[in-house]
Structures are given as C-alpha cells and as structure tokens.
C-alpha cells in the first residue's frame, strides 16, 4: 500500500538505503577477492588462495539476504514503478556481483596448480590487470549507491584498458606455449585467469549500463560493450 505520509516514505527510503548498502558490501567483498586472488597467485600463497575460495560463501549469503529484503520491501511497501525499478536493479546487480565473486574464486582455485609458473611474465602483469578490474567493480558500485551516471560512463571507458590487457596477455601466452610445450598447461591456466578478469570487466560494464539507465532513464549509446575481445584471440 502506497502512502505519502512522511513516516512511511522515510521508512521506505531507509529500507532502500540499507539495500544499496548490502549491494555495496557485496561489491567490496568481490573487489577484495579479485585483488587477494591475484596476490595469492603472485606470491604462491596457498593459504590466502584458500581464504578467497572460502570467502565466496559470504558473497553468496549476501546475495540471498538481498533477495529476501527485496521480496519483503516490495510486499510491505508496494513501491511505485520508479522505485520498483530501483529495487529490481539492486536485485540484478547483486546477481552480477555474485558471478564476479565466482570468477575471483575460480582464479584462487588455480593458484595451487600454478606453483611452478613463477618465471612467466604474465604472472607479474595479471595483478596490474586485476587492479584495474577491481577498481571498475568498486567504482561502478559507488556509482550505483550515489546514482552517478557520469561515473558509470567512466567505468565503461575503462573496460577498454582491461581488454587491452587481455589481448596483450593472450598473445604473450601463445608465444610461451609455442616456445616450449612444457609451458602449455601453466599458460592455459593463466589464459583462463586473464579471461576471468576480462569477464569481470564486462560484468562491471553491464552494471554501469544498469546504473546509467536507473539514473537517467536513457540507455547508453550503442557501443562495443561487454564483448569478448576476439580481435586479440584471433591473432
């Protein structure tokens, strides 16, 4: 039931603000998981990698909590269309962040099988790629909380940097594989790690589009967004 009494509106705003806070917390955890997984890879730190894998459970729990709150919020407050879109955006974004957490977990799971890959150049490039990707995750969730369309646009721009990292790593890893068959297994794992980061960047771009739409009511101009950078793969 919709009422326009100050009390109910205030309670609704508080609920919505709490919901945004939970999505933001999920994002913070996904961001940390990305950074920690790549640090674990770089320092061959199995304990730290295991903590990232374990920590993904908390991200999943937060998603379930967000879903419960969305159901409660809609059922109790019967929000109008605009507010409803906002609430459903939170639900959708939470689902995307959950997948980001899965990608970070997948990176962490590859740490034990990459104990011997220490001399390979991508091992030192991946953390830089991870930092850019993690910053996209942080900034797009900040943009969601503050409803900042310009900040969302800036995140989309940064996805090109992630794609460039990916294309460069792809070529480097192919060279490693060709030079020495013994590098092939490790290179393949590193390639999947790079691909996971590239996908996280795509997901951040998708979230940026939702934030942009929620804030402006307009879709971002058609752009080469969220696409798998095949140009590099095809080289």
């Amino acid at each position: 039931m919709v009422t326009t009494t100050g009390h109910t509106v205030k309670a609704f705003d508080e609920d919505l603000s709490e919901l945004r806070g939970l999505v933001s917390e999920m994002g913070g955890r996904a961001e940390a998981a990305i950074i920690d997984a790549l640090a674990a890879l770089q320092h061959r730190d199995l304990d730290s990698a295991a903590r990232v894998v374990e920590g993904d459970r908390k991200i999943d729990e937060l998603e379930a909590e967000i879903e419960r709150r969305v159901v409660r919020l809609i059922a109790l407050r019967a929000p109008m269309a605009d507010d409803l879109r906002d609430i459903l955006a939170a639900l959708k974004i939470a689902a995307v962040v959950e997948r980001m957490g899965d990608y970070a977990k997948n990176i962490a799971k590859r740490v034990p099988v990459l104990q011997d890959a220490r001399g390979m150049e991508p091992m030192s490039v991946l953390p830089s790629m991870g930092r850019v990707t993690a910053s996209m995750v942080r900034d797009v969730l900040d943009a969601f909380v503050t409803r900042d369309a310009q900040a969302a646009l800036a995140v989309v721009e940064r996805d090109r940097e992630v794609d460039d990292f990916y294309n460069s790593l792809f070529r480097t890893l192919l060279t490693y594989m060709m030079e020495n068959p013994h590098n092939i297994t490790a290179s393949t794992h590193l390639l999947f790690i790079a691909k996971n980061l590239e996908r996280i960047g795509d997901h951040a771009t998708n979230v940026a589009e939702m934030v942009y739409f929620a804030a402006t009511g307009q879709t971002m101009a058609e752009r080469t967004k969220g696409e798998d950078p095949l140009a590099g793969d095809a080289k």
Copy 2:
C-alpha cells in the same frame, strides 16, 4: 492491491503464464543458438554463424520485455510473497538465459577464425557436447514452466556429463598444442568454445536450483554444482 475476486486472480494467473511463456521462448532461442553455433562451426558455415550472432539481439529484447512485464505485473497486481518470489525467479532466470545467449554468440564469433581447424578431433566432439548442453537448457526451462522439481534435479545430474566432455576436450586440446605449435591458436579457440559450453551447463544448473527452490521451498542438498571442473584443467 490484492483482491480475491475470481476475475483479478484469473488475470494475474494469465499474466504470470504469459511471463513464463516469454522466459520459455528465450530459452528456446538460446537452445537453438547453441545448436546452430556448433553446426556452423562443424560445417564452416559463416552465414549461419552470422545469423546466430545477429539472433542474439532478439534474446536481449526478450529479456528487456520480461523486465518491463515484471515491473508492470508487480506494480498493478501487488502480488503476495509467494507469487512475488515466482515473478522474481522469472526475472532472474531471464538474466541467466541472456548470458547463455551471449555464450552461444561468442561461439559463433569464433567460427571465422577456425576455418582451418577442420581435421581436429574436438571439431566433431563439440557438437555432441553442445547437444547435451542445449538439452539441459531446454529441460530446465520446461521444468520452470511446469514447476517440476524432479526434472530440475535431473538437469543437475546431467551437468556431470558436460563436465566430463569438458575435461576430456581439455586434455585432447593440450595434446594437440604440444604436438604441434601450429595447432595452438586453433586449439585455444576450441578450448574457449568448450569452456563456454561448460559455463552454459553451470548456468542451467543454477536455474535448476532456482526452479527446485521455487517448487519445493527447499534448497537442493549441497553438491558440487556450478563449479569450474579444475580437475581436468589441472591435468
């Protein structure tokens, strides 16, 4: 506003049934895209591959249409918690199917760069893997429409078959790479195609869990679900 007059309940049921129909249509298109992308790969059919890429737009449009209907349905009918969960499940499943469509599109995009890979064994295994994966997509959406928890469970079981395909292809492709550096680029693309199918299988498993939960109110017993089969990767 909730009323219990027959008229309103009937209209709501019709709306819900139409919503399920749209999700099912999305699933049918994703299923066809998977099959068609792999047929295009096998027969080096660039036109057919281009049609899969183009057809993904329709899947995206269906997702947008589902979202509009969800907002309208909730705003107009103010459904109670159980119905609301059902409607939100449709929204979440549509988002997953949209990603499945993206994976199929990604496979189709690799067809042009795999024109010379015709003699490789995975080229003939991938369509079989694709058929199993596509059947999971079809069956889990049928289970959603009919609210069939047992059918959803059966889909989860079949994900093991997809993982077995993936692990076997992973090893085969590594062998190809090691035998001849000239195979490395094509093998990498084929590896990504296998990985895309494996991810679609994971997504179908996730949808199966939502269907199971919606139908029974219980979560599926903790199982090794939706995980990247690292055992094979690590070989």
